[in-house]
């Protein structure tokens, strides 16, 4: 029977990701395989410049401009690029529209595919096993967990982004927002409403 003694050398110390990435990064830098300034630029871009405000601007534009909305639903990649959002993990976009009686929701069951240029990097829950396993088989229970209760007669469409298409939900514009500006509308649009795990609420 093993002794419980904290002074001994552990048999298999758990590997520490902070140490491992430091080792990997410094080795690749020493070998000239990566550039230190590029690393800083990558972090700044995805931490500070790209995020769900981009997607919210697309949604607000579609709500106020019927021609833009038509272009967005016909060729999402080009319409989103009109507003300046394109690139890695958004090369080929599809926008799916919520309507009265129809709700769309996006998942990647195999990994964590997500439209970076419009939504930024995905939240932890989107990448984790509970959401990825259940979104396709029991979307209503998933929506319940997000506080979204749909009437029984609302049709649900789940989009599994297993290929290179990246999906963005165009949520329904809430009632009572007729007089609002495009910027005011964009401010109401949440990340979750563009994944399909939320609805846009009028303030």
């Amino acid at each position: 029977m093993a002794k419980h003694d904290h002074d001994h050398e552990h048999t298999a110390p758990p590997s520490d990701p902070a140490l491992r990435v430091k080792a990997l990064e410094s080795l690749l830098l020493e070998k000239g395989l990566i550039d230190a300034a590029a690393l800083d630029e990558i972090i700044d871009t995805y931490e500070n410049k790209i995020g769900p405000r981009n997607g919210a601007a697309v949604v607000a534009r579609a709500w106020v401009d019927a021609d833009y909305k038509k272009r967005l639903l016909d060729d999402a990649t080009a319409a989103i690029a009109e507003l300046g959002f394109s690139g890695v993990q958004g090369e080929d976009m599809v926008v799916v529209e919520n309507l009265p009686g129809l709700h769309n929701m996006v998942v990647c069951t195999l990994c964590s595919c997500y439209p970076w240029p419009t939504l930024g990097l995905p939240p932890v829950w989107y990448k984790a096993a509970p959401y990825r396993s259940r979104a396709v088989s029991d979307p209503r229970s998933v929506l319940d967990e997000f506080g979204v209760t749909l009437a029984d007669d609302v049709e649900i469409r789940v989009w599994d982004s297993n290929a290179e298409l990246r999906y963005l939900v165009l949520p329904e514009r809430p009632d009572g927002t007729d007089g609002m500006s495009e910027d005011q509308l964009a401010a109401m649009v949440t990340r979750d409403s563009m994944i399909g795990t939320g609805l846009v609420q009028a303030p």
């Binding site: 990435v21 995805y46 890695v88 069951t109 195999l110 939240p123 967990e145």
Partner: protein
């Protein structure tokens, strides 16, 4: 390959637990993993399908018990060893050196 990453319809994974006002990164090491991954991918060291396969080849329990950026770290280590950019021994020696410096 058939692996635990193929999660659609699997039972027993528990509640989703979304985090309120979640930050883009939770820790400095996640920033570094993200940047090293994009830098090596952008430098043409592997394609997106090799990237995904590199993660799928983790063992089932290892995959499920580690976080997203640990999957990426495992993948970059694996692919950069396999394409000959670094060796297993070099990486392990660097880890030992850094652990000693930190001690």
């Amino acid at each position: 390959m058939n692996g635990v990453h193929d999660l659609g319809g699997m039972h027993g994974m528990g509640p989703i637990n979304p985090e309120e006002n979640e930050p883009v990164f939770h820790d400095e090491w996640e920033r570094r993993v993200f940047a090293v991954t994009i830098a090596t991918f952008g430098g043409g060291n592997y394609n997106v399908d090799q990237f995904r396969h590199g993660i799928e080849r983790m063992g089932a329990a290892n995959y499920l018990s580690t976080s997203y950026y640990e999957h990426w770290l495992h993948m970059v280590e694996t692919l950069m060893i396999e394409n000959g950019s670094i060796s297993r021994d070099e990486l392990s020696a660097k880890q030992a050196q850094l652990a000693q410096e930190a001690a």
